[in-house]
Each structure stands twice: as C-alpha cells, then as structure tokens.
Amino acid sequence: MKCEFADSLLQGYFDGELSDRRAAEFERHLHHCGYCAAELVDLDLVSAMLRLTPLYQPAPVSLRRKIDAYLRPIEPIAAASQPLLWHWLAAAAALFLIAIVLWRVSPELGGDDYQAELAGEIVEAHLRSLQPGHMAGIASNDEGVVKEWFDDKLKFAFPVHDFAKAGFVLNGGRLDVIEGRSVAVLAYEHNGRQINVFIWPTREPDTSPRVGSRQGFQWVDWRKDKMEFCAVSDADGVDLEQLHQLIISSV
C-alpha cells in the first residue's frame, strides 16, 4: 500500500531538503516502511539516469549572438542618409509621446514603493490566472452575463464593460483572494495578451493612476468612486493606460 509520506517527506529526504531533525525522524520511519524503502531505490535509479545521461541542452551560439546584438547594437554610420533622418524624427516623436503618457500616468513620483506587497500579490494572482485550467469563473464576452455572475457572488457592485471596439476584448471574470479578501477579476485580451483587472471596494479617496512593474509584468492602479482597480499584464504600459482611460470614462 502506498505510504502517506511518499509524495512529501520521502522526496524531501531523497533530495536532501529536510532539516536534520526531520531527516532523522524519517530515517526511523524508513526502518519499518517497506513502501518508502523500495521507492527510495527507484528514486535513486531514475535520478541517476537523468544525471548521468547528457540531457542538458546548452544554448546555441546563434541565440547568444542575437542577445549580444540586441545589447550592443551597431552604431549608425556617420553619413546619415535621408531615410535615417526620418527614422530619428519618428523615434523622437514616439519618445515624446511616451514621455507625455508617462508624465500623465505618474504625476507623483516617489510613490514607487506603492504597496509593494499588494502589487506582489496581484502579480502572483495574475500568474496563477495564466496557468492553464485555472480559469474557474465565467467565460463570456457578454457584459450582462459577466455582471450578473458577479452580482450573485460579491457584496459589492462595479461596472462591467467590453471594449472590443477599442481592441480590449472582455473574456470573462472570476474571483480571487488578495490580502485575505475577495476581489473581482475582469479578464481582457489585447493583441493576444491577457490583461487582468482586479477590483475591490476601498474607503480611500480617489487617486490618479500609479504604475509599476514586477517580475516582468506591468501594473496600473487607481481608485475611483470607492473602488480600487489594478490592471496587470505583460502588455506595454501604454496599453494599460489606454484600458485605464476606457474604464474611467465608461463609468
């Protein structure tokens, strides 16, 4: 019969991850558990095969070259031709635009460490939502259906809108838990990227949006009408800002 420790302590013992005390305890268990004793031998067999067989696949040189080329772009040649000038102008215009957006989005610098833990939890929740099979919620593009689904489950209400015309398709909603309280999550898709908007009630006054990034994900957070919103995605910050605009102007 399978031992209850087979999926936990046995692995930890085999991998040398138990504290000395727990390892000693488990050794006493091993003396009279035939199942674990036999499993230990099999574990060693599998592990040895994996380690002794050259399975590790180092990166090809071409990948390293591409990364290097990205990190150390070749400087443009001095004799700039006409089209190059255009590129520079376009780039300057783009930078200017981004600067305006960023300036508008983050008028209050210094609030950078904004609830670092909260942002962390939200990014974790966003990551969980990207795991296949996680979507335990409602999958629908219909604002009404999604709203009704939430109304049955939450004590607070908030507007649900699909912004498909602007390129932000409502995919559905689900519930999550952040800092021990239930929050609503609206899932949007934009250019193939998933954006989650976390929503929960707050007593704090309205704020302008604050932005940040964590583990490669961007977030934008704001409060409006006693609700706090936090949009998270690996999409560009500019996209999140656009979604923020859509949401606040739709209320």
Partner: protein, 179 residues
C-alpha cells in the same frame, strides 16, 4: 536599439547572461524542440532585458527562469493548447510521441530518456528538469513555477513515478523483443 543604460547593461551581462544556457534548456524541454526553444528563449531574454530595472537583486537565475517559463506557457497556450489541456489527466501519461513501443525501439539511453521525459505533462517535466538537470532547490523551483513547496514535492514525486514506469515499461518491452 537597446533600452538599457550602460551601467544596467553591464549588470545584466554580469548577472543574467551566465544563465542563458539554463534559459534555453528549460525552454527546450518545455517546448520539446530546439527551434521553438530558441525563439521563445530569445523573447524571454529580451523581456528580461526590458524589465531588468524591476529586478532588485536576489537570485538572477530564478528570476530569469520564471520569465522563461511564463513565456513558454504563453507560447504553448497559443500554439499547442491541446498539450496543456491534457496534462491533468493522470491516466494519459504517455502521449503519442512515446508509446512503450517507440521507447523500446529508441536506440540509446539518451534517446529513450528524452522520449520518456517528453511524454510527461509539462507541469511534471518542468519540475524534473529544474531539479535534476538544473539542480534547483525546492525553494527555487517554487519561486520559478509560482507553486507552493508542498506542491513542488508532490509534483516531483508523481513525475518521478511516471518517468520510472515509462522507462520500466519500455525496458520490459525491449526485453521481450530481444528474446
């Protein structure tokens, strides 16, 4: 155009680039192919570069591998959703590419192990690769995969058992063939 300042670039090269092999290896095993792995690892590395400012010290390998893993899953979801949807079915432990027969026929140990490993669901494959090939601790695996340590242990356990039975299966078929 690189978006990193000179100083950041030096730090990136010093902290992150030593783990390019780890990044490629993980992508290779998650996607089961070198060409796809190269594309996705590249995308992940560029993303790491873009968001490098968000890295506040700590374990650079775990940080990078977390990005690689997420990029791989996003890619799988988009390109091979079937592969991900099958994974929770414990019974389907040998996918089409690695039946006991193909495993038995596979020439050497390396080929046999590769096929057996690739037959595991991605979720099991990744913990084995991180533990056995990359030598990560449970804590690092938990950080990379965003799953609790208890789940790391149980996934490793199930992954090892599945791999063992896939190999044992193929070995017995092989023995029959030799008779």
């Amino acid at each position: 155009m690189s978006e990193l300042e000179l100083e950041d670039r030096a730090r990136f090269e010093q902290l992150v680039l030593p783990h390019v092999d780890a990044a490629f290896n993980l992508a290779r095993w998650l996607l089961r192919g070198r060409a796809d792995a190269e594309d996705v690892a590249q995308e992940a590395l560029l993303r790491a570069c873009r968001f490098f400012r968000g890295f506040h010290g700590g374990d650079a390998r775990a940080w990078l591998l977390q990005i690689v893993r997420n990029t791989c899953y996003t890619w799988l979801e988009k390109n091979r959703p079937m592969e991900l949807s099958m994974e929770f079915d414990e019974e389907i432990h040998v996918q089409t590419c690695a039946t006991p027969e193909t495993l038995a026929i596979a020439g050497d140990d390396r080929e046999r192990l590769t096929l057996a490993l690739e037959s595991l669901p991605p979720r099991f494959r990744e913990v084995l690769v991180l533990r056995e090939l990359e030598g990560c601790s449970y804590k690092e695996i938990a950080a990379i995969t965003s799953i609790p340590i208890g789940t790391v242990m149980s996934s490793l356990s199930r992954a090892r058992r599945q791999l063992y039975s896939a190999l044992a299966n193929s070995a017995s078929k092989g023995a029959v063939r030799e008779v």
